[in-house]
């Protein structure tokens, strides 16, 4: 291959950034990149083009422990004079702490992650159309048969909590799979819900946050053990 061809250079740089340049071709490209400044620039250009694909993602706040783990793996939490004093005093408190700990352990609930749930959404002939499953952090909806919906409309999935308002779980895919992050507050409602419903809504989903169109399907939810 003629790596001096600028068209080819750009193409290889693009596939390098995309990740589809693999194996020997990738190693060879990396070797060339070390010697060729223009090739490095081409790669940088492609990174600048492609990485903003991440800009449209909805930010997700990591849990507090992540920053603590970063600090400790970088050795930011070094032993200071103050902590030496802490260790000296520790002996005095340790017996008291042991008693408190014993009391805590005997009363604390056993902490396990929330169970997952599943539901099959079927049409009026009892043919399964969607498979819904959830973990404690995400939901997945799988379209089992391709569906159609009239132009300008969308199908929206709702969680029906016991004695509460329906909560939107987003739009249903007409084909393929969708996985979405499950907000903690909604995950908690899951345990208190026995059914899902599907309504016909304007394209993009209900403008009010509550179902506005007819309920087309309902499905019971089962615990996925």
């Amino acid at each position: 291959m003629n790596y001096r061809n600028p068209e080819l250079k750009s193409r290889l740089a693009a596939e390098y950034v995309l990740g589809t340049l693999r194996g020997h071709a990738r190693l060879r490209f990396e070797r060339l990149m070390r010697e060729d400044e223009l090739l490095r620039d081409e790669v940088a250009d492609w990174q600048t083009r492609m990485m903003p694909l991440a800009d449209s993602l909805v930010p997700i706040k990591p849990r507090g422990r992540v920053w603590q783990d970063i600090r400790s793996s970088l050795g930011f939490d070094t032993v200071s004079r103050r902590s030496l004093l802490f260790w000296r005093n520790l002996g005095v408190f340790s017996s008291a702490a042991a008693i408190l700990m014993a009391a805590y352990i005997s009363t604390a609930p056993i902490h396990t992650s929330a169970p997952g749930y599943i539901a099959v959404i079927a049409d009026k002939h009892a043919n399964p159309v969607w498979l819904f499953s959830s973990s404690d952090t995400a939901i997945t909806i799988k379209s089992l048969v391709p569906s159609t919906v009239i132009a300008g409309r969308s199908l929206e999935l709702w969680l029906l909590p016991e004695g509460g308002q329906p909560v939107s779980l987003g739009l249903l895919p007409l084909t393929g799979n969708i996985t979405r992050l499950l907000p903690h507050a909604v995950a908690k409602l899951m345990a208190n819900s026995h059914a899902l419903a599907v309504s016909l809504e304007p394209a993009g989903g209900s403008p009010t946050g509550q179902p506005t169109g007819p309920i087309l399907y309902q499905a019971p939810i089962a615990v996925n053990t």
Binding site: S10, R11, A14, E15, L18, G19, T20, R22, R40, D41, A44, Q47, T48, R49, M50, M51, P52, L53, A54, D55, S56, L57, V58, P59, I60, K61, P62, R63, R65, V66, W67, D69, I70, S73, L74, F76, T137, A138, K142, S143, P173, T175, G176, N177, I178, T179, L181, G204, G205
Partner: protein, 191 residues
């Protein structure tokens, strides 16, 4: 110095402070970028616990390589996104972590009105954006590119996943990337 915004200049300054072992700079950098970078890791891995592990590894990496960052080559967030995505794809390639998603889901992220709205609200940018350019690509080509970008699939994995001959998938990718290149060039000429 008040640094509460995530402008490229601020982030670049914080990275240069990290290169000088300024721990407070890393703390500030984390505060400004962790939620966006977490979204990148989650996008690839689809699991919060894995995404958090990758985020942690990435920030350790960013700290150690802050001196390698070159402001003239890439915007700070581009550089950091690149690190997080690479880490996440490496993680995904470990045999026990494979969670290949259906292509439709990947493609849907361009059709999701909520994501579009967010994008409009959060960003004002000159010239072409990758989202605009992606929309100019034919659906199949776009899906192949998205799968490669977010799931790290090889040509042969893509061919298997999309049930097409490998030559077809390669051509789709090549055509899609050519459209992106052209789209950016046109935007560049116009601006």
């Amino acid at each position: 110095m008040a640094q509460s915004t995530d402008t490229p200049a601020t982030l670049a300054h914080l990275l240069s402070r990290c290169a000088l072992n300024d721990q407070a700079a890393l703390a500030q950098l984390y505060k400004l970028t962790s939620a966006r970078l977490m979204a990148v890791a989650f996008r690839v891995l689809q699991r919060r616990d894995w995404a958090e592990d990758v985020l942690q590894e990435s920030f350790v990496n960013i700290w150690h390589h802050a001196q390698d960052y070159q402001v003239q080559k890439a915007a700070p967030l581009t550089w950091m996104t690149h690190i997080v995505r690479n880490r996440a794809l490496d993680w995904l390639r470990r045999p026990q972590h494979e969670t290949i998603l259906d292509g439709a889901e990947v493609e849907n992220s361009w059709n999701d009105p909520a994501a579009g709205l967010f994008e409009q609200l959060s960003r004002v940018r000159e010239g072409a954006t990758i989202e605009e350019c992606m929309r100019q690509i034919e659906a199949k080509n776009r899906q192949a590119i998205a799968l490669a970008f977010w799931q790290g699939l090889t040509h042969s994995e893509l061919a298997q996943h999309m049930q097409q001959p490998i030559g077809t998938v390669k051509a789709w990718i090549r055509r899609g990337l050519a459209v992106i290149r052209k789209c950016f060039e046109v935007a560049h000429e116009l601006s």
